[in-house]
Point group: C2
Chain length 438, copies 2
């Protein structure tokens, strides 16, 4: 079969990794794909920069339009990232009848509906495996591998930086700020770490996962997002003593009332496999009604792991070049005309268990007041730990685990507890999920 | 699009589960596949038997040929299992131009080369996701999701019964025979447990995984297979104290000398995720040169988990009905004409580390003799534990961990150790793999 010509936009970490993988494994990839896959052109902002990849045989341009307008190129691989003009380039490539492969999670999460509509109109494919969880083929697993299931929920560690920080806090008893500074020094976290530690990056990925799991449009603005910066060393330690680990999870769950979409720190039982996913690694648990719980684990970032997903998409697209568009796997797993407008729930209506930590004065009746307030809001208690006051301290920490409750009841209960004279400061609240096989 | 008509051969556990999943999730599946998937016919040996599935609307036959010869049926789903006449039925279905979906691991492992050749000749697909690791989409992950990688090795817990037995031995300090009897009572293990505990079932699955990972023909007869019946409670306990768990792994590894294909009990560091896969669950670690280590976890058997894989295959085939055969994903991941005849190594040439347990008399110089023999065979020692003799016992157990060594050197060393007057009985040898991220 005739070789497939590919143009790459962007030769940074992922772009360079993709060139390297496609060159190094060219023979192995051709043995699989049944044809050669050749990068004929690439664009980069600065043509004179030293790169991680060898660009011999590739025509370089500063202008991505040189690639988008090349009639020989069938697949445009967008590895620049971000929005604005990048979105315009992708739309222009689709307009020109090119298939597009991208690792751009924010672009897909925020503008995917528009991009997929344009692709469908032109009968071409937009592939985005690399946009979620790097090298883990999670899009393919959910969209094709679990196609026989009604997906009930999924929960994932989908931001490596956040998981590195929480792992270090647990393993070494370190504080959040201290580990964050190290993550920045190691290059895991950006100078502005908001995207990672406040859960925005995870929310982009969860937007995509929820859409392909439930057949709903991409709805980034409906995701409840909470970061890990409020988690203290004490919380990590108390969770541990109770048999839990704290992980920053993206959770999508179908309930009879609607869909919960939420990113937040979560206590999970330490015996769950995902509780043991450490460092910068990612993992996603997907529960289907037929298959039960499955888990997918691997590196969520990095040049070659991300390139692995990009190249797999290129091979898929190469195989589908001559297929009828209607017989292809739909972009969002479900046929575009079958997407569902099922309600995405307001956080008030989330149902989950909680870990609560409060500081109280060492007086009789404090615990009675707290438990009375919880009972008044129909919140059942699973466990209570009341610690002794430290020397020179007059305040006593109380840790509570609750059963599943409605979030608005919990918000009201927390407000009432914080209003007690005997309770000092804020209640630290972390959600708890058992992720059971049911 | 017009509905796809499917015929099912066999209405036992997996067949019944497949009917149930296809009926229950019909709407969800149609939203994904863009067309209805309808089971119009099914065959079963005993038509009057009470079944786990509702067969309303399905024409039942005692003779599979009624389905294989029905011109309306496009996809034949074989869920009878085993060989002999089942193989003939599959070949006849292919001959009739039907696509085939099967969960039959022994048939694919033993006769897949012939079956795929026939399918290619007729331009039809044989899909077999359900043949390995039940509901885990591992075939798809390796064949498509990691298509950009050179696969370096894979290691999997691919027999649930064996993993259940090893998990119980560890968790409850029970003996092999005792747990096996329980597994049989629970229905996990067959009355004749040889297939599971001696590793034959795992070897069937490893045959398939190795083929799609490395692009080699199916070569079941070249797999080294060792069961778990020689593992004792003591081994499990000593492994634990050294920081390891014992798992029954199927391992395929590419080395500069050739390919290692082996199924055997294996010590793995307890901090590896796969060491924490318990009970009847399956998991496979796949290492690719670009992606690094990825892991796939889920239920490896059962009616609906297996049906999940079968239905995913049916959806895939439905989408590929009108595609050019040359643009489809090749049966064994690599183009049939590109399969490699790379050497599969004889066990003598395997390279791995070892755990050795021996019983010695309580005399000076025993340890010196043993370590001298190992040194003479170029075997380096990683750790030694010499236990005290139990009361009323004169024999002392010695446990050794070695560094990586050539298997034929180890065999010679063990023979020499067993010939020592001061060593009692056999040396219990278990291979050890670190499964590191390199």
């Amino acid at each position: 079969m005739k070789p497939v010509k590919v143009g790459v936009l962007g030769l940074g970490t992922v772009g360079g990794g993709t060139v390297n993988v496609l060159k190094r494994n060219a023979a192995e990839i051709a043995r699989r794909a049944g044809r050669e896959i050749i990068i004929t052109r690439a664009s980069a902002k600065d043509l004179n920069k030293v790169r991680i990849c060898d660009t011999e045989g590739i025509i370089l341009s500063a202008d991505p339009m040189d690639i988008i307008n090349d009639p020989e190129i069938e697949i445009v691989v967008e590895l620049i990232g971000g929005g604005g003009v990048v979105k315009d380039w992708i739309l222009k490539a689709l307009e020109n009848g090119k298939h597009v492969v991208t690792a751009n999670k924010s672009l897909i999460a925020l503008h995917g509906n528009e991009i997929f509509a344009k692709a469908s109109e032109k009968g071409v494919i937009v592939a985005f495996e690399a946009a979620v969880a790097g090298g883990i083929p999670i899009i393919k697993a959910i969209r094709e591998g679990l196609a026989g299931n009604e997906i009930e929920w999924l929960a994932g560690i989908i931001n490596g930086t956040g998981n590195f920080i929480l792992t270090e806090m647990r393993d070494k008893g370190r504080d959040f700020d201290d580990v964050l500074a190290e993550a920045q020094a190691l290059g895991y976290a950006e100078a502005d770490p908001t995207f990672d530690v406040e859960g925005i990056d995870a929310a982009h990925k969860l937007t995509i996962l929820a859409s392909i799991a439930f057949g709903i449009p991409l709805q980034f603005d409906k995701i409840y997002t909470e970061g890990i910066s409020r988690i203290t060393r004490l919380d990590v330690e108390y969770a541990e003593r109770l048999g839990y680990r704290i992980k920053h999870l993206g959770i999508a769950r179908k309930t009879p009332e609607g869909i919960e979409l939420r990113v937040h720190p979560t206590l999970i039982p330490e015996r769950r496999l995902i509780a043991n996913v450490n460092g910068v690694m990612n993992a996603i648990v997907v529960r289907g009604d037929a298959v039960g719980n499955t888990l997918y684990y691997g590196p969520g970032a990095g040049a070659e792991p991300t390139a692995s997903a990009v190249v797999a998409d290129i091979v898929d697209v190469a195989r589908a070049l001559t297929s009828d568009p209607e017989n292809r796997v739909p972009h969002l797993a479900f046929q575009a005309e079958s997407l569902s407008d099922i309600l995405v729930l307001h956080p008030d209506n989330f149902k989950t268990s909680y870990y609560l930590r409060l500081c109280t004065e060492d007086k009789p009746g404090v615990l009675a007041d707290v438990t009375r307030i919880l009972a008044d809001h129909n919140i059942s208690i699973e466990a209570i730990i009341q610690k002794e006051a430290l020397p020179d301290e007059t305040l006593i920490p109380i840790i509570l685990l609750t059963q599943i409750t409605l979030e608005k009841e919990m918000n009201a209960a927390i407000a009432a507890i914080e209003a007690l004279d005997t309770v000092n400061g804020k209640v630290n609240r972390i959600r708890l999920e058992t992720l059971e096989n049911k």
